[in-house]
Amino acid sequence: MPKSNDRKTTDKSRDLAAQHMIDVAAKKDLSLVWDRQSAQAPPCPFGSAGMCCSICAMGPCGIMKEGKRDRGVCGATADTVVSRNFARMIAAGAAAHSDHGREVAEMFIRTARGEVPGYEIKDEDKLHRVAELYGIETADRDKNEIAEDVGRAALAEFGQNSGELAFIKRAPEKRVELWREMGIVPRGIDREVVETLHRTHMGVDQDYRNLMLQGARTSLADGWGGSMIATELQDIMFETPGHPWPTADRIPPRARLNLGVLEEDQVNIIVHGHEPLLSEMVVVASKDPELLELAEEAGASGINVSGICCTANEILVRHGVPVAGNFLQQELAIATGAVEMMLVDVQCVMQSLPRVAADFHTEVVTTTEKAHMQGATPAAFDEDAPLESARDLVRRAIENYHQRRAVDIPDISSDAVTGFSHEYINYMLGGSFRGSYAPLNSNIIDGRIRGVAGVVGCNNPAVKHDATHVALVEELIANDVLVVQTGCAAIASAKADLMRPEAAMEKAGDGLREVCETVGIPPVLHAGSCVDNSRILVALSEMVNVGQREGRLSLGDDISDLPVAGAAPEWMSEKAIAIGQYFVTSGVFTVFGVNFPTTGSEEFTDFLFEEYKDILGGSWAFEESPEDMAARMIDHIDEKRKALGIDRARERILFDMEMRRKIDTE
């Protein structure tokens, strides 16, 4: 077992709770992700440049830029190999998000039929809006009837072979026209993933421009397809974050984040992964009086459910369930010795968990047939009785409590206000009667808000944990850029205290601060899990739509006109590439950090970084340091402001009768 590598703890993470646990683990000789990362160093130069091709048995081929290894055995050029690998990452990422969406759609139908005790259709308002997008009649119909039709329509889109996905029409008209012209409107979800795998098979599509049309189409099938289905249907079943519908409380959840949320005297259950289907029920079960009594009998003062990664984000933004940490903290949580059970579902689950858990009493439980792990207990999630499954698991965790030995929980956590769904943003900017994005556009035009940035994505041990996220976000808000976040990036900012409303006074530029104070928001908004990046797509479209409805509030007629930018500073998964590509295809300038997987082909990289600007109006970029990322994003935002003519203070327009006659009143 390798000893702790020569990186100092303070270089591994900026998070003090993480640092503490890294040191604790080192003392116990536990191998952590950072150790394995240094064991892998230096990384394979072919792989990191996207030039390794192992898709057939003639190779594997490592392509070099010059010399006789400039082609693979089959004759594929560097451009082809790099673009194939890139397209396959998109397909894998899209598959991950979409398969999640499919599970949700199936559960949604069963819920509508009343087959799943514990699940119900909660947000009828949203159900109606989604039904409308699918062309499903809502008038005088029972919510469950509507929901079943919606679920079926959504599920059908996975196997659909022709036509267009229903949510595509939520994009601005001009964008949809562009996609249609380019022939990249997804026909179905699975079809695009399959076709990408086919076209990247040995000896098929060997022109990267043509191949990337399919790459772009597959990414849209993710963002405007599978991911969006997951978000929308989950909201209807599990509550739209912020609870903005009329009969709800309209109070977004507040919660604590970081390892300090683990309770020393309670049964700690961590849910980790990406799907909320079981974890929703675990949260319910943890409040069951019978189980609480059982916990008490076991000597615990309560049952504490917390989350890691996007399973955490899902239940955080909906119910305020505390978050123990982000991706790089999964091993550290177990190392506290305070976790009775870690339930994992899909994606971003490290195979090292059972090995770390072996030193403690923690039971690692896999909860889906799709993902088993040696050393973990497979516990099938009974889809007919999820609450029963959850109860069983909670009971087991309680029974495990007495096995607990020494506990070392860092007393570090941060408060955050979360739950900024598209619907809640509408509400918070105008209340129940005037809800709209108009104030956002208005303040962007006035210059109080310079622009909006989406900062999303993973953690990556190749760079200091959370450091790029936090530095980038702080730089952006100091420059009056409102930041919207999802995924592990969001957890990073919350842990750095940036999602408290007070952060506006402490760290935001004057203009942004003033807006935050008016609305009562933090300068950094938590929008949910990584499938919830679809919320950002909807939000961007709405910013365009507001301007289409009221000319004075116009920020252009396409997403690519908006003063916005995206970033995934610490990305690591294929899902991040899929997300990046659907943002770029939707017209957003998107910067990635760590390493860019296409550097093996200058031509292909140039295609993504430069040519895309003309083709799509959005493009990829790569920067290593948060300062450079921020500078690129702010420059882009300023360019867009200039193009919109809002780079200078506007004169106050006073309206006479004639002008008022021309204003639409819709």
Binding site: M428, L429, G431, P439, N441, G520, F655, D656, M657
Partner: protein
């Protein structure tokens, strides 16, 4: 710090709710569940709640619906730390406050004595001058001024000014900017309305200074007015809250002016107003909300943060107008008194009278004529023939002849009456001057106050010269005015004027729809009723009574891109119905596809739509085989089972409703009055007030068909207000409608 405002407003909302709840419990106890609750004569129930939710509240028991909604809306106060977003909550709290206030205020109408007056204007004396909610008659009449732009919006003043003098200055300045001023609540026990009262300022709808009530909850009347404007003129359905509020944000340029300390409940009401896009401007040092979005510009502005202490009240009106984003076009008129539409309604009583002219007491006339040659008119020449009024004793009488002479390359004799008719408005808009009538039956007064401020007869000339240039500059290049006070001169010129009046009448009488190829549209009201289009023909004037075919024609020539556009009749589709291809094509375009066809002479087949400004509404009474006509001023029940206000609610906003039509009074005696449906012989019921108005002209028209006093065959409210009663009367008098073919 917006959070302070949010906290205060949310606290205030809870207080307003609790007050309303107490009043409600008391009313329940005292009057019972089924006691009817209503604001005076309105078809819009409790208009804010009705507009926002579409729910009708008619009894005390129904008010539970309101509390359900209020309790659902009321948010908690923001926390000290880690607060959740409060802007949405604050706006909801504001709306909840308005709902609660409608409970509190409407229950006042159950009190005895009534705490509010029900007439349009305040009595001249006494403390009992609060006017409360505007009924639909007032609302429609005033709404029209919002439609045509004569009133750009309203200021809701809450509280009181530091001194009476400042109160008068602020009110005067707002009046001069043509705004309606709603006076609400008090500060330190004093209301600005009381301050104005103490200073002898006339108040009422005619003066555009409307004291609603001394409790700030009466502010809800201002928002109820706004909600009704959207429903009546904008054609917005009750319950379509988003459109009602955005309509007001974009069309009704109103704001709240908070004078004196701002209480929690006042913050709550201001938050309610912000929902309508109406910002608040305070004269005290309170937190500001400057970022934009829900309102057009800033939301809350505190004058002490904007300017120096001693300029707060001097600048507050200008700043408020800027914050609302309002461009006020004020007529610059060289007179020593205040000038503007707000002063049009000013009354000059006998005791206040300096001098009067005409009114059958002295000879008088007003006459505007065009001159063919430029050298005949010296622009700006104001000549008085006879003495001015400097040396008169108060209460004097003097003859007065007003002769306006206009030269213009594009002037036509057809425009003479159009311009001449404006003399009434132009003179009336001067504070201290009063005008009634026209031609040789005009009657004018100058008040003692006006006289003391320097107003003289000569200024009538200055006013007419300035205003005609402003409004009719496109046709009037040069204007001169002769003012005769010498009796002989007046009498001499009056003869000439009478000859001209006679010739004009002959010319207009001879005009028929067939005699012209072009009609005119009027889309003035599209600012408020976007789907409505008026078509004005020589024999059918605009439904508001304000625009004849000649007026429209003149307006078109004066402003070629304005709201009156020529409409080529084109091919005749149906002569009887009055359908023309050119008119239909125009209609489809101008109504944005809302309307395809229009019959000029039928209320059954494709009748003309209404904006909401109609002088009268005609309604079929199927049992009688005839129609009834109800004018805007008549608020009692009619034989069709609906009051004017309810009817107006059904046909306004650009909807084509067969069997119903809005029209002008003048149209009733036109040969083309629903001529496709049987014409005037269909008229079986009209209130007496309308009969008096149209008797002479209608009888004259009917005489052509051999009727002697046709109007006496028409039933009125004395006969009854049910179809059965009307029918019995018709049978008794042998009304011709009974013999006509069925209408449909």
């Amino acid at each position: 710090m917006s959070k302070l405002i949010a906290s205060a407003a949310i606290r205030g909302a809870h207080q307003a709710r609790n007050t309303a709840k107490e009043r409600f419990e008391e009313a329940l106890e005292k009057f019972g569940e089924d006691q009817v609750v209503e604001l005076p004569n309105t078809a819009y129930y409790l208009p804010v709640f009705y507009g926002m939710t579409g729910q009708e509240v008619e009894t005390v028991g129904d008010m539970r619906k309101i509390f359900d909604k209020v309790d659902q809306l009321l948010p908690p106060e923001p926390d000290q730390d880690l607060w959740v977003p409060y802007l949405g909550h604050t706006l909801d709290a504001g709306m909840a406050t308005l709902f609660a206030d409608e409970v509190t205020e409407s229950l006042k109408y159950l009190e005895d004595p009534l705490p509010y007056r029900t007439e349009e204007d305040c009595p001249m004396e006494g403390d009992d001058f609060w006017l409360g909610a505007a009924d639909d008659i007032v609302f429609r009449k005033r709404g029209l001024e919002f439609v045509d732009g004569t009133a750009p919006g309203f200021a809701a003043i809450v509280g009181s000014a530091p001194t009476n003098e400042i109160a008068v200055e602020i009110a005067r300045e707002l009046q001069e900017k043509n705004l309606y001023v709603f006076l609400i609540g008090e500060s330190g026990g004093k209301s600005i309305a009381e301050q104005l009262r103490e200073e002898g300022v006339q108040m009422g709808w005619d003066n555009r200074l409307v004291p609603f009530g001394k409790d700030t909850s009466s502010a809800v009347f201002a928002l109820g007015f706004a909600a009704r404007v959207a429903m009546a003129f904008g054609g917005v359905q009750p319950g379509d809250y988003s459109r009602i509020l955005n309509y007001n944000k974009n069309r009704t340029f109103a704001f709240v002016m908070a004078l004196g300390e701002v209480t929690d409940e006042e913050y709550a009401r201001a938050a309610g107003a912000i929902n309508f896009g109406f910002p608040a401007i305070a004269d005290t040092d309170i937190p500001e909300i400057l970022p934009t979005g829900v309102c057009t510009y800033e939301h809350v502005v505190s004058m002490p943060k904007q300017t120096e202490e001693d300029k707060i009240h001097e600048e507050i009106v200008t700043r408020a107008i800027e914050v609302r984003g309002l461009k006020v076009e004020v007529s610059e008129v060289p007179v020593p008194v205040s000038y503007g539409p707000a002063f049009e309604g000013e009354i000059i009583r006998k005791d206040d009278l300096m001098v009067e002219f005409g009114g059958q007491r002295t000879p008088a006339f007003e006459y505007l004529r065009m001159r063919e040659r430029s050298e005949d008119v010296e622009d700006g020449d104001i000549e008085i023939i006879g003495p001015d009024i400097d040396d008169l004793d108060p209460g004097s009488r003097l003859p007065l002849g007003i002769l306006v002479e206009v030269y213009g390359r594009d002037m036509q004799d057809d425009f003479e009456p159009v311009l001449e008719r404006m003399i009434h408005t132009y003179i009336n808009e001067a504070s201290g001057a009063w005008h009634q009538g026209q031609r040789d039956i005009n009657w004018m007064r100058i008040s003692k106050d006006g006289f003391e401020e320097g107003l003289r007869v000569k200024h009538f000339g200055d006013i007419l010269h300035a205003r005609l240039h402003q409004d009719y500059g496109a046709v009037a290049d040069k204007i001169q005015v002769k003012l005769f006070t010498d009796e002989d001169e007046v009498k001499k010129w009056r003869e000439e004027a009478r000859e001209a009046y006679h010739q004009r009448d002959e010319r207009i009488m001879g005009m028929t729809d067939e005699s012209v190829d072009t009609y005119y549209s009027c889309i003035l009201c599209q600012s408020f009723a976007p789907n409505h289009v008026c078509i004005i023909t020589p024999q059918r004037s605009g439904l508001c009574g304000g625009y004849s075919w000649l007026d429209a024609k003149a307006n078109y020539q004066i402003i070629p891109t304005g709201p009156n556009q020529p409409v080529d009749k084109g091919e005749t589709i149906d002569e009887t119905l009055g359908q023309w291809k050119g008119v239909n094509d125009y209609l489809a375009e101008a109504s944005r596809g809302n309307l395809e066809r229009f019959s000029a002479y039928s209320m059954v087949h494709d009748p003309m739509t209404s904006c909401g400004c109609f002088e009268c509404i005609a309604v079929m009474l199927p049992q009688t085989n005839g129609i009834m006509i109800v004018p805007r001023e008549y608020s009692e029940m009619t034989p069709c089972g609906m009051r004017f206000s309810t009817l107006a609610g059904q046909i306004g906003g650009g909807v084509q409703t067969p069997g119903f039509v809005g029209h002008s009074k003048l149209y009733i005696s036109s040969d083309k009055f629903i001529s496709a449906d049987g014409g005037y012989e269909r008229i079986v019921w009209m209130p007496k007030m309308l009969k008096d108005d149209v008797r002479e002209r209608l009888n004259e028209r009917a005489a052509e068909d051999g009727y002697d006093d046709f109007v006496s065959m028409i039933a009125d409210e004395d006969v009854g207000s049910t179809e059965e009663e009307v029918l019995a009367f018709l049978q008794e008098v042998g009304h011709p409608a009974l013999e006509l073919n069925p209408m449909m």
